[in-house]
Symmetry: C2
Subunit: 464 residues, 2 copies
């Protein structure tokens, strides 16, 4: 190494304000093109969608070797950043010295051509080097930072709620078991496993939500959020479900359902604007290759007023539409995906909060409304994705909470600590959950959740 | 609600530049003090260590009720922010109206007195309302944001590596099993569990490190980091080990061990300065109550040059010291905690990198040095904590990597995807891991890892 060249990321080189001598670039070869007199290498280092053109002249000692480089090879190139005569790029690197760090032969699975997303999933360890997944994971990174910025700038405390848990938040989602018992010969007593012999002294699993623990912290710090992995052991094989995904769950003390909806709206708008401001080139790629009209959709969302409809109004509007739905539509039944999509895409034509669901179909911790038959819950529906946020005001009144737990068969004994917060210093509070991958699907236009997670886990698949 | 009062967090009220009428504060009662004519309530909402004094005059309709409020009750108070005649506080709230949102009786487990940390652990759902844990979790939140800021501002991509995994990164740490098989009657064939019948079609567990997957991403995006939960199923009952903890793992392509040490040093310095700048009041509390001299220690670290010593030099220096150690000290043996502490606390008197460990005691992926018997590994040791960061340059040369895997009994077949990155476009790269809780112990002076995690998981304990 000469030590004199200035190491730069390719994004910075391409954004350079002026020509510059003595630059060191490092990255992976996308294409090699041999012209009459020189060889052009398109080099990418993941810092941006575009690669930079490296011009190799015959005067270089290893000119012949470089002309034979395969897609995927890793090189470092020293030279001068000069104006490029080629169209579509302001700068190129005129190489003075190129070192090959790692070769790539013709077996490299990511040759320069169109690959199906299915194929790319099978090489999830290499797909980040493709244009599509480069863009997906840059967006994922930028937006995960945006999540923290949004909450931290508003004084919300970040809480790391536990992953391994002995309780099942909603009594609903199937849980993975976490254990160190001998899998062949579990300790049994009268046919039942002796969980007291397991690592934690009781039966434990992977969390389905950090909400209950989040509530405990909200009742000390007022405004908190979690951002961490959550799990579902459901054997579902749809394009919208993964067994492991990241969720964002804010919780606010002294807040009601209306404040909860305002926070959700502000949050979503902030994230979308952040993407538009910081990820322009990647969004343009998705707009062109994945979902035509994507950027217009995002710009609309960033300015839109979110509508609000009660569940009752939503059911009535769906019935009035006369649209033939597959699933039944009656007050008291849960809305299905087809209903939600029709509501947001056709009836409203934009994001809409549906609020005040029948208490029978919602979780025990949601606050009972004065009508005695609905709860202060909300789902935010957006076009193409359907439900993207679900939240509620929580039941802060001990007698009502106990009554609803009894009605839903939730054991009081196992949630004594949760009830303690209603026993001492209870207060109105509310929160919601946003599935980070669902949101990324919305922002990128990618239609399969497996394509917005680095290494997706689904039934039958825990590779890499 | 009158809707006219401006809702404020107590931190903002205490920092107000001027007196202000019509303020709404909400929080939890720390103490109630009845003076001759008025009642004083110390109110805290978690936004800062200090509470604000709320002055209740007899003219309030519920004056008598408020005088009987217990510690832990939740109230909202409307009134005027006025200069406080009391010492040590610039502002107090002269209440015009106070509503009790949630009472707290004498059974409230967090009465105003000194509690042991052991006792507070048993009420982990309420301890965030105490001064000590308010400060701990504010620091934890601020520093987790600082982690993201450090890396994002330097162009590192945030990667969410998988939690559920079929591989065991280091062949070392004990793993928790993740399963949905019937625990009472697991499917067996010749006495072995049929893992192909399990949820993911193979045996899976909770990750002990995101490094291997992080390397895959570094070889597409150059600089990446992970920040997520990791797990150890070891039955250890020390104050420094938890079964679930958060780890930060950056990985840089085109970097050697020296660059890795520089990054670690910059990172640690950044975090410490961030705490000093943003968490002054909480640090002052720790300095006074938990570790005298803490702030001076942090200020020293923020300015210190980190020493570097090779493992060989470290062993020689420890031997020369003549200090009687419990564990043997020989070239080729791992350094024990007592050696590390003596090195950083007594011999160096500050942070020190120990580098180039014998290859026999280090993981297969660490790069073999030219001497053939050491690897390009580093541990950063700091006073009071010992090892706080461990990292290495990774072995990028396929034949050497294969040789070391064979020597360590690591199966080639199970890591084919990892080897692929050495097959195509390999490059020098390096990274490290920082245990977030270890670092928080260093910054707060708290001596038990259970006291810097919201809801710690340890053998026999998965409560809350």
């Amino acid at each position: 190494m000469d030590g004199l060249s200035a190491k730069m990321r390719i994004a910075a080189a391409l954004a350079s304000a002026a020509a510059r001598d003595g630059v060191l670039l490092q990255g992976w070869v996308r294409t090699v093109r041999r012209a009459k007199e020189v060889t052009f290498i398109a080099l990418n280092d993941g810092s941006c969608l575009d690669g930079i053109q490296v011009v190799i002249e015959p005067s270089l000692a290893n000119f012949a070797e470089l002309g034979r480089l395969g897609t995927g090879a890793c090189i470092e190139a020293r030279g001068d950043l000069v104006p490029s005569p080629a169209s579509g790029q302001q700068w190129e690197l005129r190489a003075r010295e190129v070192r090959v760090l790692g070769e790539a032969d013709g077996d490299y699975p990511l040759q320069k051509k169109r690959h199906t997303l299915e194929y790319l999933r099978s090489i999830a360890h290499l797909r980040p080097r493709s244009n599509t997944f480069g863009a997906v994971f840059r967006l994922r990174s930028a937006l995960s930072f945006a999540v923290h910025r949004f909450f931290q700038e508003r004084g919300f405390l970040c809480v790391h709620t536990p992953i391994i848990t002995a309780n099942d938040c909603e009594g609903a989602g199937e849980m993975f078991r976490v254990t160190t018992l001998d899998p062949r010969r579990p300790p049994l007593e009268k046919g039942d496993v002796l969980w007291k012999d397991d690592f934690f002294g009781e039966k434990t699993g992977l969390t389905v939500s950090g909400q209950l623990e989040g509530e405990l912290f909200a009742m000390a710090f007022s405004d908190i959020y979690t951002f961490g992995p959550t799990f579902r052991a459901e054997n579902s094989h749809t394009s919208r479900h993964a067994s492991e995904f990241w969720m964002i769950e804010p919780e606010m003390a002294f807040a009601d359902l209306a404040a909860d909806c305002r926070l959700a709206e502000d949050f979503l708008r902030f994230l979308v604007r952040y993407a538009l401001e910081h990820c322009g080139a990647d969004l343009a790629f998705f707009n062109e290759r994945v979902e035509p009209g994507l950027i217009a959709k995002l710009e609309t969302l960033a300015e839109a007023t979110f509508e609000t409809l009660s569940y009752g109004e939503a059911v009535a509007a769906l019935k009035r539409s006369g649209h033939p739905f597959e699933f039944p539509l009656e007050w008291g039944l849960d809305l299905q995906s087809e209903h939600e999509r029709y509501l947001t895409e056709t009836i409203i034509g934009g994001p809409v909060f549906v609020t005040d669901y029948p208490e029978g179909i919602k979780a025990f911790y949601m606050r009972l409304n004065d009508d005695g038959r609905t709860v202060a819950a909300m789902d935010l529906l957006v076009p193409r994705v359907g439900e993207i946020i679900g939240g509620s005001q929580r039941e802060e009144r001990m007698p009502v909470l106990l009554e609803r737990m009894k009605g839903k068969g939730v054991s009081e004994a196992s949630l004594g600590w949760y009830l303690d917060t209603r026993r001492w210093g209870s207060c109105p509070h509310a929160g919601f959950g946003l599935g980070f991958e669902r949101f990324l699907m919305y922002v990128t236009g990618m239609e399969n959740i497996r394509d917005v997670i680095p290494f997706p886990r689904t039934p039958g698949n825990a590779r890499f």
